[in-house]
């Protein structure tokens, strides 16, 4: 049983560019959450998707947007990249009725130069 998978594992972008990160949830899971983890910090909640809609959102600007597909996979898009967007981006999934218990993927390391 594959766990949460994310792609790519590493990414280098230039300021002002746009990036798309991808996540496939654990089998049987329907809810996907995204987190940003800066170096030396705990993960910060970006948003959560359920039934292809954004259900909750953390304190992140509109440059951060997402999408969930009918197969429950999800994308995180970041526009107009800033140096401060450099971080590990984590995806977590949870099963129906158990949105509090989240399983994390390995993350995508984004470096903005």
């Amino acid at each position: 049983d594959a766990g949460v998978t994310q792609s790519p594992t590493h990414l280098i972008k230039t300021r002002g560019q746009q990036v798309t990160l991808r996540c496939s949830p654990k089998s049987g899971h329907d809810t996907v959450s995204w987190y940003q983890q800066a170096l030396g910090q705990g993960p910060q909640f970006i948003f959560q998707y359920y039934e292809e809609e954004e259900r909750q959102r953390g304190n992140f600007p509109d440059r951060f947007s997402g999408h969930q597909f009918p197969n429950y996979s999800s994308e995180l898009n970041v526009n107009a990249l800033l140096l401060g967007d450099s971080a590990l981006y984590l995806c977590a999934s949870s099963s129906p009725g158990h949105s509090y218990e989240q399983y994390f993927g390995p993350g995508t390391r984004l470096t903005v130069t």
Binding site: Q41, G42, G107
Partner: protein, 109 residues
């Protein structure tokens, strides 16, 4: 808003020593509390969770945590650590998981 505070961000212990990591939260609603662990080079993994019931929760690998409502705390403990417990430990609250800054624990063999 929900927030989590973790203290003693860097902890260095010898094997067989006892470990206790503090976690304090602020959240006015129904409390769901978690401890996650991140071993070097690995994913975040759930160590244990508290939703309701017995405030003393047992997790994997001999870890336990105690929920004390009056103190808004959910401290993690292990009586005797091993070298393999070297990791970063995060306390988190609720389903959108407000995380603390983490505790970097190094166990010296």
């Amino acid at each position: 808003a929900q927030s989590v505070s973790q203290h003693n961000h860097h902890v260095i212990l010898s094997e067989a020593a006892s470990l206790e990591l503090g976690c304090n939260y602020s959240y006015g609603g129904t409390v769901n509390l978690f401890w996650y662990v991140q071993y070097p080079g690995q994913h975040l993994q759930l160590l244990l969770k508290y939703f309701s019931g017995d405030p003393l929760v047992k997790g994997i690998k001999g870890f336990e945590a105690e929920f004390i409502k009056s103190k808004f705390s959910f401290n993690l403990r292990k009586p005797s650590v091993q070298w393999s417990d070297t990791a970063e430990y995060f306390c988190a609250v609720r389903n959108r998981l407000a995380f603390g800054k983490g505790n970097q624990v190094v166990v010296i063999p």
